[in-house]
């Protein structure tokens, strides 16, 4: 795939190297010649010295042929501009944007052309939550712009779902069990799978039915 990365700082060049190793054609747009000078040694990655917020530079960079654009600069405003230009002017199929300041995350959505927003602080909190919390529902991942999410819950001893077979749990139609992790083993959920305390349950669910899923599996009303 042809990938264009806006911003050649630490994040941008790290992604560039990873994607190059995965066999993709990578182009990095960076405004500062000094930064390019430091990194041009990275083989197999094309560097352009250009302002990624300018239509002309994006056109010259061949954005109309790019499959993915990653807005990875350290400036949220720039990332939004790059995302919108990529979507509106070049109809790029997939636009990924980096959120630097968590307070700006609400802006990174479809109306700015962003398909996936990656916010490091939020990622960290959800990972920490997942590691420490028992009995409460944690959102691990959002897909399709938040229309469906992957949820995880470690069943507490007083969860109402313990001892019940999955088919007897009245899981809403817009949610499904994806996996049950029990003592380092993955159990593919079937109707007759019986849940135990300590099970880590993965659920794919739409946001609308999340509260129902929570009532069904969480021990007590949390958050």
């Amino acid at each position: 795939m042809r990938v264009c990365i806006a911003g050649g700082g630490n994040v941008g060049s790290f992604i560039a190297v990873e994607l190059r190793d995965a066999g993709h054609e990578v182009l990095v747009l960076e405004q500062d010649p000094a930064v390019i000078g430091r990194r041009e040694a990275i083989p197999g990655v094309t560097w352009h010295q250009a302002d990624a917020c300018e239509y002309r530079s994006l056109e010259r960079a061949g954005l109309a042929e790019c499959d993915v654009v990653i807005a990875a600069t350290g400036d949220d405003e720039d990332n939004l501009v790059v995302s919108l230009l990529a979507r509106q002017e070049f109809a790029v199929p997939r636009v990924i944007a980096r959120v630097n300041h968590p307070q700006n995350e609400w802006l990174f959505n479809e109306t700015w052309g962003v398909d996936v927003a990656v916010s490091t602080p939020h990622l960290l909190t959800s990972l920490v939550e997942e590691a420490v919390s028992v009995g409460s529902l944690v959102r691990l991942l959002q897909l399709e712009g938040g229309s469906v999410s992957l949820l995880e819950i470690t069943l507490a001893a007083d969860s109402p779902a313990i001892g019940a077979a999955l088919k007897d749990l009245a899981l809403p139609r817009d949610a499904t069990f994806v996996a049950v992790l029990r003592r380092q083993h993955v159990i593919v959920p079937r109707g007759d799978t019986v849940l135990e305390a300590g099970d880590e349950v993965m659920i794919l669910s739409t946001p609308a039915v999340e509260p129902e899923v929570r009532t069904l599996l969480a021990a007590r009303p949390t958050r």
Partner: protein, 117 residues
Amino acid sequence: MGIKQVVQRLRTPTEELDRSKRATRRADLGATPTDAVVDRQLVELVGEVRSMRIVPRAGTSTLELVIDDGHGLATAVFYGRRSIAGLHAGRAVKVSGRASLRTGRPSLINPAYQLLD
């Protein structure tokens, strides 16, 4: 117009007449027919607004126009808008921008538009 043409015209269904009218206007203005749009190319489309829809999305609203040019349908999406002065169902319009075929039919995001008579 001779009597034969009049009879012919009366015998043709209204939709057929509308379609050929739209197709003629499109051809006169040299715009691309919707069924010939190539993914991710810059295009100009000329047609009539068949429907307008306000879609609440991510905290704001998005205005979606379905444009009919007699060859098929295309969508014009305007982010953050609820209405655009002069644009209403039935209006002839020219939109230009980069077309995406991701959703099946050509769609243009925040295209430049021009109202036509």
